[in-house]
Amino acid sequence: MLLLFNLEDLLKFWDTLLFSEVPAINICLFRCLTGVVLFIDTLMWIKDRRWLLYVDGWFAYEDFKVGFSKHRLSLLKYLPPNNRSVNLLLYGQLVLSMFLILGLFSQLAAFLCYITMLSIHSRNPYSCNSGDIILRFFCVFLSLVPSGQQISLASSSFIDINLTSWQFSLIMVQLFMITIYFKNIYYKSQGKLWRDGSATQKVLNVRNWTDIALPKFLDNRPFHKVLTYTTLLLEGAMFSLIWIDEFRYPVLIGTILLHLGMAIFMKVKLFQMTMITGLVVFIKPVDLIHFFQYISHVR
C-alpha cells in the first residue's frame, strides 16, 4: 500500500516535472537562435570547404574512409566521393538552417540538420570544435519537440501567450547546459593554473587562440586572478544558483558577459554564440513574453 502510494506520488512528480504545460516562447526563441548560429556556422564551413572538406583537401576522402567512416555516421560515405556531395550537404544545411530561423517544418528541419552536421563533422572531426558539437545536440533536442508555433512564418501571430509546450522541452536543454558547466568546473578544479588564478593569463597570451590582445593595463596578475576566479564562480553558479529565482538573472547576465568577453577576445566565437543561445531556456517565459510585448509596443 505504502509502495503504491509512493509510486503514485513519483508518477505524479514525473508528470508534473516533464509534462506540465509551460509557455512555448522559450523553445521557439531557442529554435530561432539555433537556426541563426547554424546559418553562420554553415557559412563558415562553406568558406573553408576547399581545405577542410573537399575530397583532396587537408584531410583526404580516402583517409576519412579508412579512419572514420566505419565508426561514424556520415552521408558522405554513401554519396558519390566528390566535391559536389560536400556542396550538396553544405548548401542543404544552409537552407535547412533558414527553415529553422523561420520556423518552417522546424522538427523535420532540425532532424535533417542533425544528419547533415553529423555527416560533415564525421568527415573531418579534427576541425570540429565544441560549438559544432553543442549545436548538433541542439538540433537533436529541437527535432523532439514542436517549436515552430511562434516567432515563425508558419504562425499567424508573432507571439501568442496562450501557446504552450511540455516542460521537458526546456528541461532537456537546461540539463544539457548545466552539465557543460558542471563538467567544466570539475575539470578546471583539477588544474593547478585554475586553482592558483593564473589560467586566463596563460590562455590570453597564446596568440593562436586570441583575436584581440588584452589591453596592456589589464594584463597583470591581480586582474587575471579576478578573471580566473570570476570564470570559475560563474560556471559554478550556472549549475547551482541558476535554479534559485533570486540569483537567476544576475548569474545569467554574468555568464552572458563572460561568453561575450571570450567571443571578443578569443577565437572561440561560434562556441560562445552557441552557449548564449542555450542560455535562453533559463529565462522565465513570462519575462520573455513581457520583453517581446515591450518591443512590439515600442515599435
Binding site: Y126, S130, T179, L193, V203, R207
Partner: protein, 150 residues
Amino acid sequence: MLFWDLPKTSFFKKIITSQNKFIYRFGLAYEFSLFSPVPVSQNFLFSFEIENVNGSVVLFDLNGYSMKGSYQHSKNVRYAKLHHHYLSATETFSKKSICCYVLQEYLKGPSAEVPKYIHIMRYCQKAPKSSPDKWSWRGGRIYTYTVPHS
C-alpha cells in the same frame, strides 16, 4: 545524457562507455573540457619542410595560418583546432593526411623536385634567460612522412 559528461571512472559513465559504438556512430558523445584542466599556455609555430631526393629542402606554408608579427595566427577556431592536432605529440593520422596534401600541392608546382620526406616542424616560444623581453623560437621536426616510391 547527463551521464555522458561524468568522469570516466564513474559507474554511469562505464555503462555509457559499454555502448560507445552506437553513441559515437550517431555523434551523441563528446569530451568537453574547454581550456581545462591544463589550459593552453605556450605559443607554437608550425610549418612544413619538403626534403627532396637530391638533398634540397623546400619550406611550405598552409593557407589559413598567417604571421602577425612573430606569431602564427589561425584564421578561425577550426584552424586553431587543426593547429593543435598537427602539433600534438600523440596524433599521427591527421599528420599523415596533411603531409599527403602538402606533397600533392608541392608536386603541382612547376619547379618541384622529387620529394623524399615531408617533415612537420614545430617551434616553441622560449624566453632566453639573458634577455627575458626578447623571445626566440626553438624547435624541430616532430613528424616525418616518407614519400612512397621516392
